[in-house]
Symmetry: C2
Subunit: 184 residues, 2 copies
């Protein structure tokens, strides 16, 4: 079952996001398996964190797809993206925080691809006149991810109610990004 691998990866994120230097024993225990089985599933620590990154990126890409960010009004597209990606906010937070992931080529390639999609979305929005042009599309892309990661942390630490996550992100970010202030 490939589901088993994914559940282990999810547990690994829960531990690694808090302490990136956590021992494999701890990760195995968090996943409910032994260190031996963990080694049978993933050849080593390096492979484990790489697959965690790949899982996060796949989820991210899936969110972009379901949101259809390339279609329609840029404002609506961003709202759809927000809703689609907030459930995986923690994954994205780990993605941006773990600098070790940037060593892997496949991870980097997928990451750049998704960032390019987001950048294109903001660029399109600026051309459509819905996003402010005083702020570069590159900065808007980065800021969106920063806030998304912040949402992930806040929810996980219990500082923000999960039901408020989507609106908190959308309201704050769109308030600063939209050209015409908050036309909901």
């Amino acid at each position: 079952m490939a589901t088993d691998r994914d559940s282990v990866l999810e547990a690994a994120v829960g531990v690694l996001s808090r302490r990136p230097t956590a021992h494999l024993d701890e990760i195995a225990r968090a996943a409910g398996i032994s260190r031996a089985t963990l080694h049978r599933l993933f050849p080593g620590r390096e492979a484990l964190i790489r697959e965690v990154g790949m899982l996060a990126l796949q989820r991210l890409a899936a969110a972009f797809d379901t949101a259809a960010v390339e279609e329609g009004d840029a404002h609506d597209a961003l709202r759809r993206l927000t809703e689609a990606v907030v459930p995986d906010a923690m994954l994205c937070a780990y993605l941006t925080g773990e600098s070790q992931l940037y060593d892997d080529e496949a991870v980097n390639e997928l990451w750049e691809a998704q960032m390019a999609r987001l950048h294109a979305l903001f660029l399109r929005g600026q051309q459509q006149g819905v996003f402010r042009i005083e702020l570069s599309a590159a900065w808007l892309s980065e800021a969106f991810f920063d806030l998304l990661a912040g949402i992930g942390w806040a929810v996980q630490d219990g500082r923000l109610a999960p039901r408020d996550a989507t609106s908190s992100l959308a309201e704050l970010f769109l308030g600063g990004a939209l050209r015409t202030p908050r036309p909901h």
Copy 2:
């Protein structure tokens, strides 16, 4: 000279922010000293990263002081804070990213104190009617730091011009935080 210690700490941030697991050799080389001298200045790795955190927190507290966040209109206070804190954005980014710092009690205490000041600022602003009340003061505080950290990364990686840093942060954040949109 205490300046020497600080210069070493600054160099340490430059390395540790990118790779938190960097070897002491690498940190020493980045600081232009030998590993022996590094050990003479700081008893060990743990002490080093703790002092890096303390340096960052002192800079942060100093920025809060110079901005006089407790005085005057909340909107103006936040703009002053933005200007004062952006030069140390990278320090703050390391501060929020390095979860290992949360183990130290002194670091935690100072951190909570500064966050409380920021929280109070947003609360005051909401009572004054300048900040939106749909977004909790806690979330505004966290989001401000998230964006500040993002500014630090973007500038260090060359994705954002240093001269645009302050305005990029202020424009985007205030746009989403202010009740009356962008009355500059």
